[in-house]
């Protein structure tokens, strides 16, 4: 297993090197003089000179690349043109919000999606199955941002059950330790703060989790249906095993293999979706941060952000492979 992980980590190296080259080239491929395009309309000669100095755009490319990679290795993902803040610092501020949101959304998707897919497969062709399949189809085709807007419209604006946005009511004087607001509320035993943060999570998490939910339902349904037809399930029945044992050990365990892979693939979707969802709900996470960077054409931020996301995405996929290997012994051997 360890060898498997190490090999997968080594495979990541060329991908990351390639990506860093591409991102390096990307900023330099912006039309016109890089310093000028970075500054945009507000470019002055003094500003251009300062940028050239900070970013070293006037030095040879190879040298620039080496110092860029050197900075990356030191954890320096660049500095915002707009605010002058290091990108890494902003990440530390904003990332907990996104993690909080993404994890809640994924939990929502998995906790509801897997049992629903399982039930649908067991009742193939009946009304429950038809409803679930139709619902999941609608879930897949509804754009995240539209669903977010719709949820906000109905449950916040019209019904007033849930807050329209933000992570927490600013009137609550909450202490923030980790920047995971719900966790902070529990840590400091400020229960009202914790519940308030949770209430703010509901709509964004449902909006963000719906597409993964729909996909997980479909994959689970297909996988369970496949496994139910497998010979080893028949063997299990012929052994006289209890229905619960068959479901758990023989059906679910095998059906979860494709589901785990799918959950891993959702990571990318969640990160993309978070950008849109956070924008709709003014949820101050990495998504809103990216949105601001896009609208202000803050390229160093975008550059650092994409590299960071890619790194994260690769690590998540590695984690998925490890989990897969834990479930399926055949993968470990391969």
């Amino acid at each position: 297993m360890l060898r498997f992980v190490v090999r997968r980590l080594l495979l990541l190296v060329p991908v990351l090197i390639g990506l860093s080259v591409l991102l390096f080239a990307w900023v330099r491929a912006l039309p016109g003089d890089p310093a000028r395009s970075l500054l945009g309309e507000r470019a002055t000669d003094a500003g251009v000179e300062r940028i050239n100095e900070v970013y070293g755009f006037d030095r040879p490319l190879v040298e620039q690349y080496v110092s860029y990679v050197g900075a990356l290795l030191r954890g320096d993902f660049g500095t915002s043109i707009q605010t002058g803040r290091p990108v890494t610092e902003s990440f530390i501020d904003y990332f907990p919000a996104t993690i909080e949101l993404a994890v809640t959304a994924l939990l929502f998707a998995v906790v509801i999606g897997v049992p629903l897919g399982y039930l649908a497969a067991r009742h193939q062709g009946r009304w429950l199955d038809t409803t679930v399949v139709t619902g999941s189809l609608l879930g897949v085709v509804t754009p995240v941002f539209f669903l977010a807007i719709l949820l906000k419209l109905v449950f916040a604006n019209w019904l007033g059950w849930l807050p329209t946005g933000l992570r927490q009511d600013p009137r609550i004087d909450a202490t923030h330790v980790t920047n995971f607001y719900v966790l902070d509320g529990f840590l400091t035993q400020e229960w009202d703060a914790a519940f308030n943060a949770m209430a703010h999570l509901v709509l964004p998490a449902i909006a963000l989790g719906t597409i993964p939910l729909a996909i997980i339902v479909r994959i689970t349904r297909a996988a369970v249906a496949d496994v139910l037809n497998e010979d080893y399930v028949r063997t299990a029945h012929a052994k006289g095993l209890a229905a619960a044992t068959i479901s758990r050990r023989h059906v679910l365990r095998n059906a979860l293999l494709p589901v785990v892979t799918t959950i891993g693939l959702q990571a990318g979707l969640l990160l993309s979706g978070a950008v849109l969802t956070e924008t709709v709900f003014s949820f101050n996470g990495i998504g809103s941060y990216l949105f601001t960077a896009i609208t202000r054409r803050d390229y160093p931020v975008l550059q650092g952000f994409i590299l960071f996301i890619a790194l994260l995405y690769c690590l998540i996929n590695l984690l998925v492979d490890v989990v897969y290997g834990l479930i399926d012994p055949r993968v470990r051997a391969a």
């Binding site: 028949r234 052994k239 006289g240 229905a243 050990r249 023989h250 365990r253």
Partner: protein
């Protein structure tokens, strides 16, 4: 052809059985008038009809036929493994006097694996790929005997040793993909025999294996069944396998039994033209070189419904208008059953006519 194993056809007392011993002479399994219909959205297919046969305690009975003859469906019906939806089963399947078709799921689960066990055709797909084989053997023991973990491992290792797997203790933690096809089939046999069932159903247990291993696995199976005093219902398309193992043989064609007889009389003088054809198509060591095999003409898909003809008539050299317009019935005489208007007299006559 393997030497026939000596199994006395007389019923033996059942060792290790959970339920009370059956009345002496009473059959262990009695299938009466079994009929299985698959009902689709717009049409129904009768896969098995008018099937009746018995298996006495300790007896080895063969169910022989080509693919599509309904022999596997019959075995699945006995095990209660047919899907509930889209399948109509009628008749009686009496196990030790109890009708399995009337038993509920709970009762079936107590019998399956404990009193009746099954070995399936394809060892490559019949074991769960993500669970160690030791656990797959152990779970039957846990289910039916309530054995504890240590006991289970102990017993599983013994069973593996019994079916001829070397270094059984180490193999317990192996996953199916680490074993060869022959080994996996041995594991399946070990699972089936783990609770010392009184009836073992083996559905083409050697078909998916290498020819060189087929005989070995079959020998292990026959030996262990014999040793445990269990009865065996062997489902196969291979008369050679039957000749080596079975006391009684039922030949099926297109969902019905066409001939049933004890092994020796059947092989000596097959009465149904289909049985005759099967026997004539077996290559024998004593046939002179160069003589072609004699296949049965036509293919099993060329059938007419049993309802108003003999289903075998399109392929039968003896068929006349009676065969094509009247459905033959299974007639019993001299301990043999036969469904034919024009039985063969001797095998020699058959060879000439074909």
């Amino acid at each position: 052809m393997a030497v026939p194993t000596t199994t006395s056809p007389t019923p033996e007392p059942v060792p290790g059985g959970g339920a009370g011993p059956a009345t002496p002479g009473a059959p262990l399994l009695e299938v009466r008038d079994l009929r299985v219909r698959f009902t689709g959205r717009d049409r129904a297919v009768t896969a098995v009809d008018e099937v009746s046969f018995t298996v006495s305690p300790g007896q080895n009975v063969g169910l022989v036929g080509e693919s599509g003859s309904g022999k596997s469906v019959t075995s699945m019906a006995v095990m209660g493994l047919l899907p509930r939806r889209g399948v109509e089963v009628s008749g009686q399947i009496l196990f030790d006097g109890e009708d399995l078709l009337l038993a509920d799921r709970k009762r079936l689960d107590r019998l399956r694996g404990r009193e009746v066990a099954m070995v399936f055709q394809d060892p490559m797909t019949s074991l769960n790929p993500v669970v160690p084989v030791g656990t797959q053997i152990g779970e039957v023991l846990q289910r039916h005997f309530g054995m504890r973990r240590k006991e289970r491992r102990e017993r599983a290792a013994e069973l593996l040793a019994k079916v001829g797997i070397p270094d059984p203790r180490r193999r317990l933690d192996d996953h199916p993909h680490q074993l060869s096809g022959g080994m996996r089939q041995r594991v399946l046999i070990a699972i089936a025999l783990a609770c010392e069932p009184r009836l073992l159903i083996a559905d083409e247990p050697t078909t998916a294996l290498d020819v060189t291993i087929q005989a070995q696995v079959l020998d292990v199976l026959a030996e262990l069944v014999d040793e445990a005093g269990a009865a065996l219902l062997l489902i196969t398309h291979d008369l050679g396998v039957v000749a080596g193992v079975c006391d009684e043989v039922n030949v099926m064609y297109a969902g019905r039994i066409v001939e049933q007889a004890p092994r020796r009389p059947l092989f000596r003088s097959p009465a149904h033209p289909y049985t005759g054809g099967l026997l004539a198509s077996i290559p024998r060591l004593d046939t002179p070189r160069g003589r072609p095999l004699t296949p049965i003409p036509g293919s099993p898909t060329q059938t007419v419904p049993w309802t108003d003809a003999c289903a075998f008539s399109p392929r039968c050299a003896h068929a006349d208008d009676t065969c094509r317009t009247t459905s033959p019935r299974l007639e019993h005489a001299d301990g043999r059953g036969l469904r034919c208007f024009h039985p063969l007299t001797t095998p020699a006559a058959l060879t000439k006519e074909l």
